[in-house]
C-alpha cells in the first residue's frame, strides 16, 4: 500500500463542520458532491435499527432521492416551502471513532442540535450524526451519513430540510 494516505483528525472534523455549513447555507449542489456515488443518507426510525429494508426509516436516500429532494426544494410549486424554511446545525466537536487508512475508512461521531425555522415556527431536534468517510481522488467523501435522532420514535411534525 505505497499510496496509502493517512487522513489527519483535523481534516475529518473540518469535513464534518463544512458539510453542516453547506446545508445551513443551502449550498445543496456542493453538498451533493460530498457523497460517493453509492452513498446513503440515513435517519433510522428506531434505536439500534439493523437495516433500512425491513424497517421503515425517517430518511434513507441514495443520490437519486437526494437529487429529487434538492430539485424539489427549488421547484416553484414546492408549496410547503414557498415561505422558505431555514436551518442551523450546532455541532459538538466530532470524535474520530474509526481511522483505518488501509481501508480508507473513517468514522466520526458528532452530537448535534438542529434548528429548522419557517417564519413563526421553529423545530428543534437533537441527536448524534455518524459520518462514514473515504478518500476519492484524494478528497474526503461520505459513504454514509447516519443521523440518530434522540426522539426518533416521537410524533414529529414536518421535517422539511436536511439534518
Amino acid at each position: 500500500m505505497s499510496d496509502m494516505e493517512v487522513v489527519a483528525a483535523d481534516a475529518l472534523t473540518n469535513f464534518v463542520y463544512h458539510e453542516a455549513r453547506l446545508l445551513d447555507e443551502k449550498r445543496f449542489d456542493e453538498w451533493y458532491e460530498l457523497f460517493t456515488d453509492d452513498a446513503r443518507y440515513w435517519m433510522p426510525l428506531t434505536r439500534g435499527q439493523p437495516n433500512a429494508e425491513t424497517f421503515t426509516s425517517l430518511f434513507y436516500e441514495d443520490k437519486l432521492l437526494l437529487r429529487i429532494r434538492i430539485e424539489r426544494l427549488r421547484h416553484p410549486n414546492a408549496f410547503s416551502q414557498q415561505q422558505p424554511g431555514f436551518c442551523q446545525h450546532v455541532l459538538q466537536h466530532p470524535a474520530v471513532e474509526t481511522a483505518d487508512p488501509r481501508a480508507s475508512h473513517y468514522v466520526t461521531r458528532t452530537p448535534f442540535v438542529y434548528f429548522e425555522s419557517q417564519l413563526d415556527r421553529q423545530l428543534i431536534l437533537g441527536g448524534v450524526t455518524y459520518h462514514h468517510l473515504t478518500l476519492v481522488d484524494g478528497a474526503l467523501r461520505m459513504r454514509l451519513k447516519k443521523i440518530e435522532l434522540v426522539n426518533c420514535d416521537a410524533a414529529l411534525p414536518s421535517i422539511q430540510l436536511l439534518l
Binding site: 429494508e53 424497517f55 437519486l64 432521492l65 429529487i68 408549496f79 411534525p157 414536518s158
Partner: protein, 445 residues
Amino acid sequence: MGDAMSRYRNDPQAIRALVRPDEIHRDVYLDRELFDLEMEQLWRHSWIYVGHDSQVPNAGDFYTTQLAREPVIMIRGADGLVRVLPNRCAHKGTRLATAVHGKCVGGLLRCPYHGWTYRLDGKIRTIPLKSGYDGTAFEQSEAARGLREISSVNYRGFVFARLSASGPDFETYFGESLSSIDNMVERSPQGRLEVAGGVLRYLHDCNWKLFVENLNDAMHPMVAHESSAGTAKKIWEASGPAGPPPMVIEQFAPFVNGYDFFDKMGVKVFANGHSYTGVNFSIHSQYSQVGEYERRMEEAYGAERARHILGEVRHNTVYYPSLTIKGAIQAIRVARPLAVDQTLIESWTFRLVGAPEALLARTTTYSRLINSPTSVVGHDDLHCYRSIQEGLAGGGDWVSLHRNHSPTEAVSAAGTYGATNEVPMRSQFRAWAEFMTLGLGGAQT
C-alpha cells in the same frame, strides 16, 4: 362553561344543519365544541381501529393507545382472545400500563400506585388490605367491577372497538367495505399479516377530517405533488434510463398521472362514510412483480384465485372515521385526533406471512417516501390541510362539495363513480351528521 356558551351541545338540529347535500359549514373543522362532541358522539358510537392482533402475539402481551382521547389497552388474554380494556385503574384512574408495547408480569395488570391487580380480562384479582372496604358500599360501586371491557371485534387480525354501549354492530357498520381488509389478508400465501417495519408517527397540525377526506381525493395529486413526484419523474426521464425504473420512481411517478387516470380508477362508496378508490386500477397497479411471490400465491390459492387476489389493486380504503388502508401494498394509516387542529397520523406496515421479504421492503419504502414526517409528498399535503385550517378560520362559511353532485344522490351515496367525484366526502359528512347526533336525541330530518 354554561349552556349559554354552547352552540351545538344541546342542539342536534344545529349540528345537522352544518351538512348540506353539497356543502359543509367550516365549523366542522374549527369549532372546539364540535370537536369535543365528535369525541363524545361520532368517535364513541362508531367502530374505531385499535391495533393489529400480531402486536400482542402471546397471553399477557399488551399495546396501549388512545381512542377518542380515552386511554385503552389492547391485551391478549389467557384464553388467547384479544380484548380492549380502559387503561385506567378502577380505583383512582391511574394508567395501568404506560409502555406502548409490553407484557404483564405474572399474567396480571398491576396498578403502580396502590397495587390493585387485574386479570387479563379486566376483573379485579387483589386489592391490598381488602378488609378496609368491609362495611362500605364498595361492592356496589363502579370501582368494584374492575376494568369494564370495551366492545371489540377482531376482524382477521384488525381489532376495532366501539366505546359506546349503543351504536350499530360491526358487520352492519362496515358492510361490504371489509372486502379491502379481506384482500390485504389474502395477499399473504398463508392468509396472515404481521405488523413489521416500525411505525411512523407524523403530527398533523390540522383537523383530522382534512386528512381522512384527502385519502379519497383524486383531484389533488397532480397539483399538490407536482414538485415532488413530478420532479422525480423528470429527473429519471432526463437520466436517459436504459432499464426499468427503480422502485422509488415506480412509487413516485404515478402521483402525477393525469385527471383521466385518476377519474377512471373509480371510487366505490358504502354506507356510513366508508369508500375506496382504485376500483379498476390504481397508482399501485404498475409496480414490478416479485416472481417468487406470484409462484407462492399460486401454490397457496391456485392460479385463478391468485390472479383474482393480486388483480384487485385498490388505492385507499377509508374505514370512517379512524382507519385508512392500502391493501395492495400492506400499509395502513390511523388517524388519532388530539385537538380540533391537531391530529396524529400513524403509518403501520405489514409483513405478508409466507411472502418474500422484498414485499416488506416495498411497503417500508413506500411508507418512508410518502408517509414520513420527512416526505416531500406529505409536506405538500399537510401544507394544504394547514392552509385550509388557516384560510377558513378567517371566514368563508361554506365549503363546496359540489363536484359531480346529483340532486337525486341518496344519503349514503352507496355506489360506484368516477374517482374525481367528491361523493366520498359527501358520504363521510352525512355519516358524520348521523353519528354526531345518534346519542343526542331528536328526530333526524
